[in-house]
Structures are given as structure tokens and as C-alpha cells.
């Protein structure tokens, strides 16, 4: 099949404003968008800039807007896009460094604010490990799957309109520890998120859940954090 790739281009050293380049590519329906980008960079235009690492949906480095929706380029087959006209653009709401590469700095700054690590200053009862029942582990299993690709945060209308909003990814990672029975900093995290730029900025637009390549129930996780703040109970 022949696909027409329209790719967002911006080189801050040369361009005053972004433009789009069009590449016509012969590809297989089972090729991924990442394969096509790799081919263009390798064989047609070596200046095309985009991030990729594992190329198997685990590292989360190739999130981008494909035909107007956030995906991991390594997880989208051409045949699943339903068209041979493909527009590829960088994630929305983060500064573009070059072409499809955005500055992830603001995203990770928000991530760091929610204390995304286990806090427990007490020694384990047996001196070796902190035990947890399967049910206790299951409680936060969904939010452990986050790969920090930023597809959710950059699909969020609240984040587009105000970059101070911590964003869905940061809340997901807070949820992962708030509901972990071994953690002792749930109260601090809930206080951090009980803010106009915390969970209350979520307008339940649901783009985050639809965009998540790991199928995390993000809006549900945010609602659970909201509820924990309202009731004062982590259930």
C-alpha cells in the first residue's frame, strides 16, 4: 500500500515557524507508524527528529499525535488507522524542541511533585520485607502499568489550557503509592493533589483514558483520588 505521510517539521535553528513535509511511502498494512518514520529518516531525510528506544510499547518514548490522536508510534499499525493519509505531529501542550521531539521537562517536574516513590521509614516486621496480600497488591495494580509516555497528560484539555495542572500521569503515579498498603505518605500526597492545579482541574474529558497505550483506567484513578480527598479515607 502507498501511504502519504504528512509530518510536522520544526528546526529552531532554521525555521521561524513550523511547517509540514509530505512523504509518499510504500509500506505494508502491518507496518507500524514507527517503521515508516524510521524508513523516512534512514532512506529519505536524515534530519527528521523523533524519539524512540525499545520500539515495543514499553519505554514510552515515541508518543506522538497521529491523525489527531495520541498514540505510541510503535503500537499503531497502518491498517488500524483506516486511511492512507497520515498526519504525524508532536504531543500538544509541551514545547517542541525539534520536529516530533518535545521537551518532557515540564511533564517530569509535575511527576516529581507527587512523591512518586515508596515512603516508609519503619523497618519491616521480620527485618526483611514488607508483606502484602494479593488483594492489597491488586488495589493499585492498574496504576503500576504507567510508562510515563505523556500521551495522557498531553491529550488533556485542562493541561492544554494551563500547564500548571499536574496532569493525569502525575495523578496516576500518586495513586500507585497512595493506595499501596506499604506506603506511609498518602496524606501528604492527597494534600499536594487537593489543589486547584491538582485533581480538581480534571474535567473528566476522558481523552487520557482513551489515549493511554497501557489501557490504564486513568479517569477512574483520578476519581478515586478525589474521593479519598473528600472522605479522608484511602479505601
Amino acid at each position: 500500500m502507498e501511504v502519504r505521510m504528512r509530518i510536522f517539521r520544526f528546526n529552531p535553528e532554521k525555521d521561524r515557524k513550523p511547517h509540514y513535509d509530505v512523504f509518499t511511502v510504500e509500506a505494508q498494512p502491518t507496518d507500524r507508524v514507527l517503521d515508516v518514520l524510521e524508513w523516512i529518516r534512514g532512506d529519505v531525510d536524515g534530519t527528521l527528529a523523533f524519539r524512540r528506544s525499545c520500539a515495543h510499547g514499553v519505554c514510552g518514548s515515541d508518543a506522538m499525535r497521529i491523525n489527531g490522536r495520541n498514540y505510541l508510534a510503535c503500537k499503531v499499525l497502518l491498517r488500524d488507522l483506516g486511511t492512507t493519509e497520515i498526519t504525524v505531529e508532536p504531543l500538544l501542550g509541551l514545547p517542541v524542541i525539534k520536529d516530533l521531539i518535545v521537551d518532557m521537562g515540564p511533564f517530569f517536574e509535575h511527576y516529581k511533585t507527587v512523591m512518586p516513590y515508596l515512603v516508609n521509614d519503619e523497618l519491616p516486621a521480620d527485618g526483611k520485607e514488607r508483606l502484602q496480600s494479593p488483594e492489597q497488591r491488586e488495589r493499585f495494580d492498574d496504576t503500576t502499568k504507567c510508562i510515563l509516555c505523556a500521551a495522557c497528560t498531553t491529550s488533556c484539555p485542562s493541561f492544554w489550557s494551563n500547564g500548571q495542572y499536574v496532569g493525569p500521569a502525575a495523578i496516576v503515579n500518586a495513586h500507585r503509592f497512595i493506595f499501596d498498603s506499604r506506603d506511609q505518605a498518602a496524606v501528604e500526597r492527597l494534600e499536594i493533589l487537593n489543589d486547584q492545579f491538582g485533581v480538581w482541574r480534571c474535567r473528566t474529558a476522558f481523552n487520557c483514558t482513551e489515549a493511554c497505550p497501557r489501557e490504564i483506567k486513568i479517569t477512574q484513578a483520578i476519581a478515586e483520588v478525589k474521593r479519598a480527598i473528600q472522605t479522608g479515607r484511602v479505601e
Binding site: 491523525n67 490522536r69 500538544l92 517542541v96 483506567k217 478525589k226
Partner: protein
């Protein structure tokens, strides 16, 4: 890209599903209700400050253009209200309902309920506009 441009690009260009459209419609209908409330507060203030202007305002409201605006307003109130109740119920009582299937299904249901509530009022208001502004009797004349 400026924040406003990013926001508008996302609103108009992002290919979201039902949730994205429900969010946009919720925002537009909310702004519609705020616009009505602002106009309403101003016209009621005329009663005290400029009674003659209040009568002019009432005459203006009876024009076809404002009549159509009021029909749109009724839709704004119903959609914003029903969708707001849905979101509040999910968020405050049943976070587990925020699944992709439920979101898609309940958004469509919300739109259908809002239209069902709006239609009788819309039909009656169209009938009044035709009757009073054009002398056309649809029913109940």
C-alpha cells in the same frame, strides 16, 4: 505555541471520542447559560434604573432571533444539567463507572435524555414564535 492557540488547536483538532465531545458541549452549553444569566441580570436591573429600557428589552426578546436563542438556551440548560449530574454521580459516588464502555454509553444516553427533555419545550417555543411573529398557527391556536 501560546496557551490559547494550544487550547483551541486541541479543542478543535484533537480526535477524541465521546468524552472529548461531551467536554466541549458541556463547556459551550455552560458558556451559553452564563451569557443568558448576564443578559438576564442586566435586563432585570433596568426595572430599577431604566424602566423604559426594560420594556424595550422585553420587546427585543419577542423577536425571532432571540426566540431561536431561547430555544438554544433551553438545550444548554438541559444538556449541562444532565451531563453535570452524570459527572458528579460518577466522580463522587461510583468512580468504578469511569470505564471506556460506560463513558461512551452514558455520554450518548445523556445526549438523548437532554434532547427528549428539550424537544417538547422547543416545539412549543417554535409554535409561539410562528404564531406571534408570523401569524402562523401550527397547533392549539
Amino acid at each position: 505555541m501560546s496557551t490559547l492557540k494550544t487550547t483551541l488547536t486541541g479543542y478543535a483538532g484533537y480526535r477524541g471520542r465521546e468524552g472529548h465531545w461531551a467536554f466541549l458541549l458541556h463547556r459551550i452549553t455552560g458558556l451559553g447559560v452564563v451569557l443568558f444569566l448576564t443578559i438576564h441580570i442586566v435586563d432585570i436591573a433596568f426595572v430599577y434604573f431604566q424602566p423604559a429600557l426594560f420594556l424595550d428589552a422585553l420587546a427585543l426578546y419577542q423577536t425571532t432571533l432571540f426566540g431561536i436563542g431561547e430555544i438554544a438556551l433551553i438545550f444548554c440548560v438541559f444538556f449541562h444539567g444532565v451531563n453535570g449530574l452524570r459527572i458528579a454521580y460518577f466522580d463522587m459516588f461510583k468512580p468504578g463507572l469511569w470505564s471506556i464502555e460506560m463513558q461512551r454509553k452514558t455520554t450518548r444516553t445523556t445526549l438523548i435524555i437532554a434532547i427528549i427533555l428539550w424537544l417538547p419545550a422547543a416545539v412549543w417555543m417554535v409554535r409561539n414564535i410562528l404564531l406571534h411573529n408570523y401569524g402562523i398557527v401550527l397547533f392549539g391556536g
